[in-house]
């Protein structure tokens, strides 16, 4: 019972931030002269209004959730891995290449493509971890820079050696992957695919690993107090290598799932334009890096984004209203707003001065 009350209290803060974010969005709507009620009604309809829109939201949440889980894992260990974008791209590209060129039966090729995605994403992430451990490069900055490098490297591959030359030359993309290798759809004619199940299962798995294993304990200990963890015998380099490998693996899997389940080929810019990677990072921040919370936050962010598209279809308010709301929520979350306010009130009560 007490545990339940505790976890409910944990929800107060995110919900307050959500309300504050929606309020900030309302201000943005009023500024451009739209109607707040109508905008949010359209947003709700666009995200959950029908079974079709609901499955759209689930499909969009899939890569965000996987990326968010990877980022949450790294954040939990105290490593600021902001390189999800590059890891996502390499995962997607590797999955596309494996699915296209591996001479294997379809089911095997699909699994191989998923594994290739995990390995490629993990390896790119591990590179940053290795640079940190071996050469002491600041991980936060190196992962950010590696994103840009990954974008251009992947763009090169898909523009030259791997380019689909059969169709129109306007889009840089690989050949279409064989239909038998695609991830199955969960419902006929709807966009949500088996990747969503994978993502949800991964969230539960990560939750259990972090909570109930020794490795998970070491990781959390390093995240909350690195010096104490070092004193306790946790080896930072080894922990960082494994964490970054797994963290990038999640992002790589997100890319693989997106290629095999939605796009069926690697298309230049198709994964960077919707901002999946940054949404995933936002989801992790929103949930304070709790795996199950991250999954829920990914659903929320995906709903805001698909809802934003609904808003743009039916009102004068631009689609980017979703980004404003998201950013405001994150800002309120990062401030630990409610907690800070509560603390201040408590402190005031304690020393009896009205400062």
């Amino acid at each position: 019972m007490r545990r339940l009350a505790d976890s409910l209290r944990g929800l107060v803060h995110p919900l307050a931030a959500l309300a504050a974010g929606l309020a900030a969005g309302a201000v943005a709507v009023i500024v451009v002269g739209g109607s707040v009620g109508e905008t949010y009604a359209e947003m709700w309809k666009g995200a959950f209004g029908s079974f079709y829109y609901l499955t759209n939201t689930l499909a969009r949440s899939t890569p965000i959730m996987l990326i968010g889980l990877g980022v949450a894992l790294a954040f939990r260990a105290g490593f600021f891995n902001l390189g999800a974008e590059g890891q996502l791209l390499f995962g997607a590209l590797a999955a596309a290449v494996a699915a296209l060129y591996l001479p294997a039966p379809p089911a095997l090729a699909m699994i191989a493509a998923l594994v290739a995605g995990i390995i490629a994403g993990g390896a790119w992430s591990l590179l940053a971890g290795w640079l940190d451990v071996r050469f002491r490069l600041n991980l936060l900055v190196s992962t950010l820079l590696l994103n840009y490098i990954a974008i251009y490297v992947c763009s090169y591959f898909v523009s030259f050696p791997l380019k689909d030359t059969s169709g129109s030359a306007a889009i840089n993309q690989t050949n279409m992957i064989d239909r038998a290798v695609w991830l199955p759809k969960l419902f006929k004619g709807m966009s949500v695919h088996a990747g969503f199940v994978l993502a949800a299962a991964a969230a539960v798995l990560l939750f259990l690993v972090l909570r109930h294993t020794v490795a998970g304990y070491h990781l959390r200990m390093h995240g909350s107090n690195p010096l104490f963890a070092l004193y306790g015998g946790v080896r930072r380099g080894r922990l960082m290598a494994w964490t970054m490998l797994a963290s990038g693996g999640f992002a790589g899997l997100a890319g693989a799932v997106e290629v095999l389940g939605t796009q069926y080929r690697y298309i230049d810019n198709a994964l960077t334009a919707p901002g999946y990677a940054w949404s995933g990072i936002m989801a992790a921040l929103l949930a304070n890096s709790h795996p199950l919370g991250t999954a829920a936050a990914a659903l929320l962010l995906a709903a805001l984004q698909t809802g934003g598209m609904g808003v743009e279809r039916n009102t004068e308010v631009p689609l980017e209203i979703a980004s404003v709301i998201q950013a405001a929520i994150i800002l309120f979350i990062s401030a630990r707003f409610t907690r800070a306010l509560l603390k201040r009130r408590k402190a005031r009560a304690a020393d009896g001065t009205a400062a």
Binding site: R136, V153, L227, S323
Partner: protein, 303 residues
């Protein structure tokens, strides 16, 4: 080889360096008071957008620069309040601020200009080009040093001013003390929080100038996410320059040169992707050359 002897390459280096240098100087001030400002990127983007908007609203390029400075200054105050006032994690707040900047600018781009992606108005005047009378006549170097927007010269002058301010004035010493040893400084009656607020605000103002140079200095245009990681490159420049304004100026020169070189190389047979990636590869390579002591201390690898 003839590429490297081209005078205009060095001229464009100076142009490309200005946004990085201005933002990096803001980063120096923050780093000196113990704040790792990840939000430089977002502040610069805000400045770039506000400069174009200001130009559109007021029709005057100097009011536009002022507007850019005010807008990114306000954004920086959000960062200051959250990290200093509410004690939030500065990296998280910086990342969130970058989100807010990219969200708000794309939203306003649709709301104000009714376009997506980028806004370009051929009738809009950019920053003027200053021809320096005597310097411009020097053979060889004159073409490089003369004929830039005023903000380019401001950036270099500010580097020297900041070096003087930090190491030769009382206020500068107080600022250093606030970052070096907060408790000690506080015991001397230095108001640390106030200094930190000013430092973050200064970085906001400098990023506003950086953004204005980006959107008004070259072509008068705003593109979504046009800062393209320059704020992060500025962060590396801060580390590489070991938090010294003049050192940072040299580091920025290197990155500005890479930026200019990557644009120039596009005329050659290389795939554009390689030339575009060059500044980021070089920035990463430059990180090998220094030790980020604050980062090492924080991760328990030096005392």
């Amino acid at each position: 080889m003839e590429l490297l002897l081209d005078v205009s390459l060095y001229g464009s280096t100076l142009r490309m360096i200005a946004p990085i240098l201005l933002a990096a100087l803001g980063g120096v001030i923050c780093a000196r008071v113990g704040i790792f400002n990840v939000g430089l990127e977002g502040l610069m983007l805000t400045g770039a957008f506000a400069a174009i908007t200001g130009n559109h609203l007021f029709g005057d390029v100097w009011l536009a620069v002022l507007f850019a400075v005010i807008c990114s200054g306000l954004m920086s105050l959000i960062l200051a309040w959250l990290t200093i006032g509410l004690n939030a994690n500065m990296i998280v707040v910086g990342v969130a601020l970058n989100f807010l900047a990219s969200g708000l600018t794309t939203y306003c781009l649709s709301a104000i200009f009714h376009v997506k992606g980028s806004y370009y108005d051929p009738g809009m005047a950019g920053l003027p080009k200053w021809d320096i009378p005597l310097v411009g006549d020097i053979p060889g170097v004159g073409g490089i040093l003369s004929g830039h927007s005023p903000l380019v010269y401001v950036a270099f002058v500010l580097a020297f001013v900041l070096q003087f301010f930090l190491f030769k004035t009382v206020k500068g010493f107080r600022l250093l003390a606030a970052g070096e040893h907060p408790e000690g400084a506080r015991s001397l009656g230095i108001r640390i929080d106030r200094i930190r607020y000013w430092a973050v605000l200064a970085s906001g103002v400098l990023c506003g100038l950086a953004g204005a140079q980006l959107s008004l200095g070259q072509v008068t245009q705003f593109t979504e996410g046009m800062t393209a990681g320059r704020g992060f490159i500025a962060l590396v420049a801060v580390m590489l320059g070991q938090n010294h304004p003049l050192g940072v100026m040299l580091a920025s020169l290197l990155f500005g040169f890479m930026d200019a070189l990557s644009i120039r190389l596009q005329g050659y047979a290389l795939p554009t992707q390689f030339t575009m990636a060059l500044p980021y590869v070089m920035t990463l390579a430059a990180m090998f050359l220094f030790k980020d002591r604050a980062y090492l201390r924080q991760t328990g690898r030096i005392d």
